[in-house]
């Protein structure tokens, strides 16, 4: 498959992981077998890692979660730089994401917990106590407006007239 087609297909799957092989094949104007095979390769090469579903959990009662973004300053280590400390952090299941950042701090860590207390406990007991962690600053997310390019409560309905020339 041509590189542009691979990118186009990945973009489609990123928007909707439930596209079927035959529909993808039609949209991309490619044979279904080729689409199937390329996706299998991309999965094997860990280019496609997972097909997640984006959920607005705020609309589900009884499953309240708190999310915090934590700016972490660390001391990089000889030979391994930030990789080893990043790994020590991302191995905790509470940790949703870890990014190495440019700027005022080093790692941006996202934590999800059931209560503020739970998150606070994790930061004070697990994260701050790691040897190489110099400081942390915790920011709780109050409301999600947009995530991964998706607006959570869109107001852009189809306002077009039903039939126009």
């Amino acid at each position: 498959m041509k590189k542009e087609k691979v990118i186009e297909m990945l973009t489609l799957l990123e928007q909707n992981g439930r596209h079927s092989y035959d529909k993808l094949a039609m949209m991309l104007d490619l044979p279904e077998e080729e689409v199937k095979q390329t996706i299998a390769e991309l999965e094997k090469d860990k280019v496609i890692l997972r097909y997640p579903t984006l959920i607005d959990w705020d609309k589900i009662q009884g499953n309240d979660l708190v999310t915090a973004m934590i700016d972490v300053k660390v001391t990089p280590q000889r030979d391994v730089g930030f990789d080893e400390i990043a790994e020590r952090i991302y191995r905790f299941p509470e940790v949703k994401s870890v990014y190495l950042m440019s700027g005022a701090y080093d790692l941006s860590v996202t934590i999800e917990g059931k209560t503020i207390k739970e998150v606070a406990f994790f930061v004070s007991q697990k994260l701050s106590t790691l040897d190489t962690v110099v400081s942390t600053a915790t920011h709780f997310i109050l409301k999600t407006y947009k995530h991964d390019g998706v607006v959570f409560n869109p107001r852009d309905d189809d306002r077009r007239m039903v039939v126009t020339p």
Partner: protein, 386 residues
Amino acid sequence: MRNRLSKTIQEIPPSGIRKYFDLASTMENVISLGVGEPDFVTPWSIREASISTMERGYTTYTSNSGLPELRYEIGKYLAESFQVHYDDKKEMIITVGASEAIDIALRAILDPGDEVLIIEPCYVSYEPTVKLAGGVPVSVTTDMSTKFKITADILREKITSKSKAIIFCYPNNPTGATMSKEDWLPIIDLIKEHDLLVLSDEIYGELSYDQHHFSAASLPGMKDRTILISGFSKAFAMTGWRIGYACGPEDIIQAMLKIHQYTMLCAPIMGQWAAVEALRNGQKAKDDMVASYRQRRNYVSKMFNQIGLECLVPEGAFYAFPSITATGLTSDQFAEQLIKEAQVAVVPGHVFGIGGEGHIRCSYATSMENLEKAIERMGKFVEQYK
């Protein structure tokens, strides 16, 4: 009481689309493939730029021919994209949509009785605007056998000593047909031989999916006889802003400007500033929209053939124009029964000219979910006529 309406207006029939608009509006659960405009909202950077100019007090008239900044950007864009070069001070006018440009172009060039060759199937306004300008519309019908392209043979048959101009739209609404340089060569020989003026409606130019749009005005000797008409509605999802433009020979553009200044004064300034932003920074948003239309185009054209409606792959615009002759119904019967029985709104081909009979226009400017549902319903509907 004497008749209050002019003979001209009495002779113009009401739009054939109205009936379907009324039907669709009264029914629930209708999926519409009848919409002739993008399903995207104008990209935010364009909306934001316009809002910002309003905040700063840009709420006045502009010069009759349009904002100099916009004319400059259009000139640059046409030269870079389509290799057509216009003097933005003398050979360009900003209009209230491409529709106004078509109207004033016809009024600027026609004397009573002049014939205008209209390549059909086509947008519904050409014939009435020719009549309103005192001209005589002459249909030149294209069909599936030539992929809805003009050919020298069919055009030659309709040219008379009264032929003054020819009007066409490629990429085409409703057929999705395009014309390449090779397609144009025999046509322009004929146009020059008979000294015709050309109205080239290139509003869908950016929505070409397989090849870059080719403007007939870029061919040798054509610029001096061509009025290139386009706008921002389709490429940048800006239908409601009503910003179009016309470029052409100075004498014709200046004549159009006379009509425009007395009837319209200028296009709305908010829309003109939005259009400036579209040309300066709207490329990425436009490319993303085009990619999305292309995917849907690929999907619907294959699906129509699968459910038994023969359909060419549309090369541009956002319409598929499948044949419905296999069902034995007329396009009007098909469209009316389809909406009543299957709750899918389409536009019957005959409203786009005689050559459109036997086809329906299906706009794929709607979500993939809607397209899937609509085609499933249409498949079941068609099944009963097999």
